[in-house]
């Protein structure tokens, strides 16, 4: 569906003809983000250069009653930037200004299209960095991080995006511009800043972000603990926390992922291990050695057969490269995989991981695990063949059962990827009707006509039933799409 010529003309007048695209190739290119399960083509793609252009474009779309949504780098894993059929997609890639940085306030202003890692690069000369570090941090945008409230391995100690953003400039669906928060860290009144962070682009489009920066640690100590069983690795995680130590990161990788990593990256992980734990400590050098010794004792007491210390920055970098590129490495052993993002209480890790493996076995599927163990934030990776409709259906079912297991354990559907399209049909399992309705009431304050990013977060009537009720049709639909490769 191409743009109405009159609307197209108006948009070109404010953006320029190079920045209003509704040709089939462009629209096809933007049919999905990192989640390819539910592709849908936008009516058009706009590329505003600055806030004023964005406001003008939003006003035109709003006046015409055309739905629209923002898109960052497109690395999201829950379909938050997948358009509903007919929506106009607003690509934020041209919002790339970075700075100014204020080392005294420990803040930096950035535009939403800035790549996550570039914020830390800009802050590094001041001995500061931006904590949220999702695996995609070399590509994902800060605007996307704000939309999804992204995390990463180092959120155990320091928190997720909401803990590292103190101000936003936002364009509301009617074109109104609002500043939320500011350099003072706290604004009197209801915390609208926290509401917008993680709202998945359904309340407003972010045009400026004031990030809170954190001092780079004086010293970092990274360990790799090797285990003969996943259960022992899980119990070590709890034992470390019980000892009163909160490492900066506490990450687990299971055998399947270790083998994929060794086939691709060659990080030197032992391929006969059932699991490895990455433990990272940060502090003044005087505080670290004793803590590292204590942790090594705990790890060995809980079954670690080997505890390796990264001898230098190069060894540390290799460990983290292996962790952050683990998803990609899985491509070497499976053509397709589907990533989950449920969270459970940390102490439930051993039994939930066993349950996940049982779910996989019951569906004839292999499930690999690489995840934020310290947070209890799971990333089960369901390996499947995208050419096999039955396997696709089984993958859906297994994914659903995993998330239901997380909820049954008192956990949540998502720790850092968001709900998007992917998990919206499970929201009524996570919240009662009153609570969901209250969220919708709040949305109505900012996005009363649901023109901005419709169809996200909240259950959509019929979508789940459609897939479940006609499995043959659903499989055919899914096969026709581009697969679940994430």
């Amino acid at each position: 569906m191409a743009l109405d010529p009159r609307v197209r003309k108006k948009l070109i007048r404010v953006l320029g003809s190079d920045y209003v695209k509704d040709d089939p190739i462009t629209c096809y290119s933007y049919r999905c983000d990192g989640l390819t399960l539910h592709p849908a083509e936008p009516q058009a793609v706009l590329y505003p250069a600055d806030r004023d252009q964005l406001v003008a474009a939003v006003r035109i779309l709003s006046e015409q009653g055309i739905s629209f949504l923002p898109r960052g780098a497109g690395t999201g894993l829950s379909g938050g930037a997948v358009p509903r059929e007919g929506s106009v997609l607003i690509e934020m890639v041209r919002f790339r200004a970075i700075g100014p940085i204020d080392p005294v306030n420990r803040t930096i202003e950035v535009e939403p299209g800035v790549v996550n890692l570039h914020v830390s690069h800009a802050a590094q000369p001041h001995g500061l960095y931006f904590v949220p570090d999702p695996s995609s941090q070399k590509a994902c945008s800060v605007g996307g991080n704000v939309g999804e409230n992204s995390g990463g391995p180092h959120t155990l100690k320091y928190g997720v995006t909401v803990n590292h953003v103190v101000g936003l400039e936002v364009v509301l669906p009617d074109g109104e511009v609002v500043e939320l928060g500011g350099p003072a860290w706290t604004t009197p009144g209801p915390d609208l800043l926290s509401l917008f962070i993680g709202s998945e682009g359904t309340l407003g489009i972010v045009t400026k972000i004031i990030c809170r920066l954190t001092p780079l640690p004086e010293r970092v100590h990274t360990m790799l603990a090797v285990f003969g069983s996943v259960r022992e690795a899980c119990e070590s995680v709890s034992a470390i926390i019980r000892a009163g130590i909160v490492p900066a990161a506490l990450e687990m990788i299971d055998r399947i992922v270790i083998q994929a990593i060794e086939q691709t990256i060659g990080a030197g992980f032992p391929t006969d291990a059932e699991a490895v734990l990455i433990v990272e400590l940060e502090d003044l050098r005087e505080g670290l050695d004793a803590e590292a010794e204590q942790i090594e004792t705990i790890l060995r007491a809980n079954g670690a057969v080997d505890v390796r210390q990264a001898a230098d920055e190069a060894e540390r970098a290799l460990i983290w490269r292996a962790r952050k590129e683990a998803f990609g490495a899985l491509g070497s052993i499976s053509p397709s995989f589907y990533t989950q993002d449920g969270v459970i209480p940390r102490s439930a890790l051993p039994r939930v991981l066993e349950r996940i493996l049982a779910i996989g076995a019951a569906h004839g599927l292999t499930i690999a695990n690489v995840f934020h163990a310290g947070d209890g934030n799971l990333h089960p990776l369901i390996l499947y063949n995208s050419r096999d409709p039955a396997e696709i259906e089984a993958t859906h079912q297994a994914g659903r059962e995993i998330l239901e297991t997380c909820l049954a354990e008192g956990g949540s559907l998502s720790g850092e990827h968001g709900i998007g399209l992917e998990k919206s049909h499970l929201m009524d399992g996570a919240f009662d009707e009153v609570s969901l309705n209250h969220m919708k009431q709040v949305r109505a304050v900012f996005n009363p006509r649901e023109l901005l990013n419709p169809g996200k977060i909240f259950p959509q009537p019929g979508r789940c039933g459609e897939l479940k009720g006609r499995p043959g049709d659903a499989a055919a639909q899914l096969r026709a799409k581009s697969g679940i490769r994430v």
Partner: protein, 393 residues
Amino acid sequence: MSPSSSPGAFTVFQPGNPDEAAALLADRTRTGQPLAVVDRIPEPGELRRDVLSVRQWRNQRFFHPADMVVGVDSGLPMAELHRLLAEQGMRLPVGCWFAGDSVGAVAAANRFGPERLMRGGLRDSLIGMEYLTPTGECVRVGGKVVKNVTGYDLGRMMLGNRGGLCLMTGLNFKVMPAPVQPHGLFLSAPDSSWRAGVAAAHAARLPLDWLQAVWRDGGWLVGIGISGNAARRERLVTELRSMFGQPLTLFADGREEAPFDVFAPEHRLCGFLSPHIPLSRLGLHVHGLFPTRTFLESVDLDGLATPGDILVVHPIGGDFHLLAPSDSAAERQVSQLRDRFSEERGSLVFEKVPTALRERWGRVDPLPPERILMKRLKRQLDPAGILVSSFFD
């Protein structure tokens, strides 16, 4: 519903549980009768309207130290929560202003304290909330796990709503292990030259646990928290003494001596304003929220308070509290604050000022867009105006 009382023309409601409170709110919505949520019940003579207090709800709902999570009723005193956590070596790094403040009161005003510089405020610890809407419906958002991006974060949004959007009934927090071997370094100084030392420590990115400066009796008292093993503490002590260039006295937590006992942990976490002026004698209280640069470089902190007043400053983070036992000089004091901070990006909040001054000083014209949005939110969530809060006036 019990117990409740009607001293004079107004009623104090103290529902026994959230169901009773929900029924009360639903009834009030039907009849269009507003009320105010309060922490402490005012003296009969101070009642200006019907009020609702939930201080009688004091249960611990869950506490799993190994998972670093705790959930409590909103009426539980903050001091009681800190005691419960300390028994298991855990800490919620958020202090309250006055001894006896409830957890719900701290959340409703989004308060924070001396530990903010390293560990943030409530928004950095809150993981879930249960609240009643003005119509009496029970909403549960967030959850019991430390990481959660499922749906809108209405719990964090409700922080700072000052009783105008909901009645909080339960709050869940992520908690952290308490600092190891906590100590404090202290100094007294006639003027705010101590700021140079704080600025140097901040620039050197020293990992301090807490920081607080107090002006009273004509001089400054400064406290700096450090922790860790002996080697770590020794390093920090050496560097801080060098940066401040003046004597810094070292005490282990809980062993402070006067005048530095005002920084003792029972005050830092459980009422850091209380040692200076009892709440009952407080005549004026202005809270300022500004960037770190404001406190370290831009604004001269000397002369902000006059003899008899108290100024409590958390320079990194950052905020100040101006406290006075009387409101007789309020107009001059507030005027001076507004002048001195007029060029800074931040907010002055009039926590306790004479009503006439509040109306005059509290009015902002034009209202910033963020405040307009907050008012829209109020109209949407409480169209009948059942929950009275001066913030939304």
